[in-house]
């Protein structure tokens, strides 16, 4: 398969690993931000292949994982209302609220549907003019343009029965929060390739300069990841900070201007709670006032719902790189993919799920 096979080539991967082994002299801790990268690392066993002095810790870049409990509870409340079709990406349906998840809501009679794109939700709204169609708009900068476009399109068409329950978050504020936290051990970052495809890498330049860290946008295939890790290690060993792009075939400095434009037109920056982490200032996106009528939180009056997290779940520490999933006391015991305590054990991009799935026992 073109653009895949060459980046899964064992010979290229081995050459990059040899080079990393050659140059890595000191102990380094590198965070891959994106949950998609975490899964690829675990799936391909890249962590097992790295020299022991190069450690990977897993970042907060799983949209499902950081979506706050209150958003799940609000979605459940809306789904339970009469005449509502709640639409969502499939991963969100299994994320536990305090009592149940959206699958359970569906089995109780709620009309909850999985879509692959917010534009599909828009189509459901067109096809069901007598129903309220709500899209659970979660994600990082990667999903924001499409989620924004759905709202803009609904406004243009004057679709009165479409709205979004928005929980959009952004990477750079989370990186700042991690780097500023007292227990931080992250010395360099693999930036999330897909986020950078939208946003470009210029917004990481100030973060890299301020904290003196290397930031390397990287892809998702083994060769992409190893190339990114090599570049971070090179910079760390040479004492350099800044941004070096290891995903040139997808990421440019400016990103995708059209996507950024529609995001800015529909959304504005706001403080945002992250599940397990807490509120990070100016880390989220909310609908601009002009698009208020498409805000499901307001339309269905659910903004007062604000539940408490399970005290057993340490996903916040996992998401900030303080704790490896397998070091959590609940991992594989109280907390498994069948009985998840937190979203990191649910999502296909969650670090706990990746550990459980690929490495729950030493091989």
């Amino acid at each position: 398969m073109k653009y895949i096979d060459e980046f899964r080539d064992p010979a290229r991967a081995r050459a990059l690993l040899d080079r990393i082994r050659q140059i890595a002299r000191r102990e380094w801790t590198i965070m891959e931000i994106c949950g998609g990268q975490t899964h690829s690392i675990m799936r391909n066993g890249i962590d097992q292949l790295l020299p022991p002095n190069v450690r990977l810790v897993h970042g907060p870049g799983c949209p499902v994982c950081v979506t706050p409990l209150e958003t799940i509870e609000r979605a459940l409340a809306i789904a339970a209302m009469p005449n509502v079709i709640l639409t969502s990406f499939g991963d969100m349906l299994r994320v536990p609220g305090s009592q149940k998840d959206l699958f359970m809501a569906r089995s109780e009679g709620a009309d909850v549907r999985i879509v692959f794109s917010p534009l599909e939700a828009l189509q459901i709204a067109r096809d069901n003019p007598d129903k309220e169609v709500v899209f659970l708009a979660v994600g990082f900068e990667t999903t924001a343009p499409a989620n924004a476009m759905a709202v803009r399109q609904a406004a243009r068409e004057g679709l009165p029965n479409f709205s979004e329950l928005v929980s959009q978050v952004m990477v750079p504020p989370a990186m700042r929060a991690i780097l500023s936290s007292p227990g931080n051990r992250v010395q360099g970052f693999l930036a999330a390739g897909h986020v950078c495809a939208i946003m470009g890498y210029e917004e990481y330049e100030p973060v890299a300069a301020e904290f003196g860290v290397p930031v390397v946008p990287a892809g998702f295939e083994p060769v992409d990841l190893l190339d990114g890790i090599l570049k971070v290690v090179e910079m760390l060993e040479e004492g350099r900070s800044g941004v070096v792009n290891a995903y040139g075939r997808v990421v440019s400095r400016e990103g995708n201007p059209e996507a950024r434009r529609v995001m800015q037109e529909v959304f504005e920056v706001a403080d945002r709670p992250w599940r397990g982490i807490g509120v990070i200032p100016a880390s989220g996106l909310v609908l601009r006032r002009e698009y208020d009528i498409f805000d499901a939180e307001k339309r269905f009056d659910v903004s007062h719902i604000a539940p408490q997290e399970s005290p057993l779940c340490k996903s916040g520490e996992v998401l900030q790189g303080h704790l490896k999933p397998s070091d959590c006391p609940a991992f594989g015991r109280e907390c498994t993919p069948q009985t998840p305590l937190g979203a990191t054990m649910v999502s296909s991009e969650g670090a706990c799920a990746a550990y459980y799935r690929y490495h729950r026992k030493p091989l």
Partner: protein
């Protein structure tokens, strides 16, 4: 002027409630749809049961209900799936499949032309597999009470004396052979249902495997276990085998056959082909000494051309399936959690 009473309509184009009521319309359905296509000496008795002679050895008996949506998909339809699935469930137990029952739940309003097409496919699949559909039943439910058509098939086969194929028979050292490329059926359904169009349409692999298995058992009579990796795919089946026999299984990622278009669709949808359903593939566990003969026999058969040895049984990590990656690392192949997709068969 000639007076005439409004006679009831007997010639329908769609399934009516009365088609399942046991009266004249039921008879018409049998006479028009089922009998011409499935006719055999057992069915023609029109008795409430089929009676046949048992062969020496043990009897294998299985049942499965088919609710696939859409009912017509690239590479097959619910009818051939219902025959092939039950034939395969018998064959992987080492049985020679012989007789099937067919129970239909029809939704009022189903076009009779669709039903005829489905029954035609069942007849064709049964003919290819060398089995007879010897008894059946039809019920009709009101519109909205089922989705067009559900089919249950049960099957009886005979296991020759001395043959012992079971999921508990795996031994360390055994070779694991897969009969061909994985994920075709599940991806055919998924891409059809989601309206994803790829350069080439993915075809379901729906096929009866009894003749492949007969050739295999002739060449390698000491096969330890066989399973068709349907729902949950190869990942689920191998996990079940490892766990039933309390052994580990080690796979080699580089040699597992996956079609290019299935790989593409899987990448796009974020699905692991190992967890995707197959309807015409079989996993064989055979003593290492017979692996070469088994593989050769499978590759010589039309349904086993792409057969490959994909791994081996080990005594380490009992109950667990581990994949060796092309990079030299390993990972657990997990039992899939739930269905990626409901109503795939």
């Amino acid at each position: 002027m000639q007076l005439s009473c409004p006679a009831p309509i007997l010639r329908h184009e769609t399934v009516q409630m009365a088609h399942g009521a046991g009266g004249r319309l039921s008879q018409e359905l049998t006479a028009r749809v089922f009998m011409p296509r499935l006719r055999n000496a057992f069915l023609e008795q029109l008795d409430d049961q089929a009676r046949f002679e048992a062969e020496p050895g043990r009897i294998a008996f299985t049942t499965d209900t088919y609710v696939v949506s859409p009912i017509f998909f690239p590479g097959g339809n619910i009818g051939d799936l219902a025959v092939n699935g039950t034939v395969n469930d018998l064959a992987v137990g080492g049985a020679v499949p012989c007789y099937l029952s067919a129970g239909f739940v029809l939704e009022e309003g189903l076009p009779l032309a669709d039903l005829e097409r489905i029954v035609e496919s069942m007849a064709e699949a049964a003919r290819k597999a060398g089995v007879l559909i010897v008894c059946g039943d039809t019920k009709v439910v009101q519109k909205g009470q089922c989705d067009r058509i559900f089919i249950n098939t049960s099957g009886v086969g005979f296991i020759p004396p001395g043959r012992d194929v079971s999921c508990r028979n795996l031994r360390p050292g055994d070779a694991v052979i897969l009969s061909g490329a994985i994920g075709d059926h599940g991806m055919a359904i998924l891409t059809t249902r989601e309206g994803l169009s790829f350069q080439s349409r993915i075809q379901s692999d729906s096929a009866a495997l009894n003749s492949l298995i007969a050739d295999l058992l002739h060449a390698a009579p000491n096969v330890h276990a066989m399973r068709d990796p349907t729902r949950g795919g190869v990942a689920a089946t191998l996990n079940e085998l490892a766990s039933s026999s309390s052994v580990g299984i080690e796979l080699d990622e580089a040699v597992i056959p996956v079609r290019e278009e299935v790989r593409g669709a899987s990448e796009l949808l974020g699905i692991d082909p190992l967890t995707v359903a197959n309807e015409g593939k079989v996993l064989i566990v055979v003593p290492a000494a017979e692996a070469a003969e088994a593989l050769a026999a499978m590759q010589a058969h039309e349904h086993g051309k792409e057969a490959a040895i994909i791994g081996k049984v080990v005594k380490e990590h009992p109950g667990m399936v581990v994949m060796r990656t092309p990079f030299g690392s390993g990972r657990i192949v997990e039992m899939p959690l739930g269905e990626q997709l409901p109503r795939i068969c």
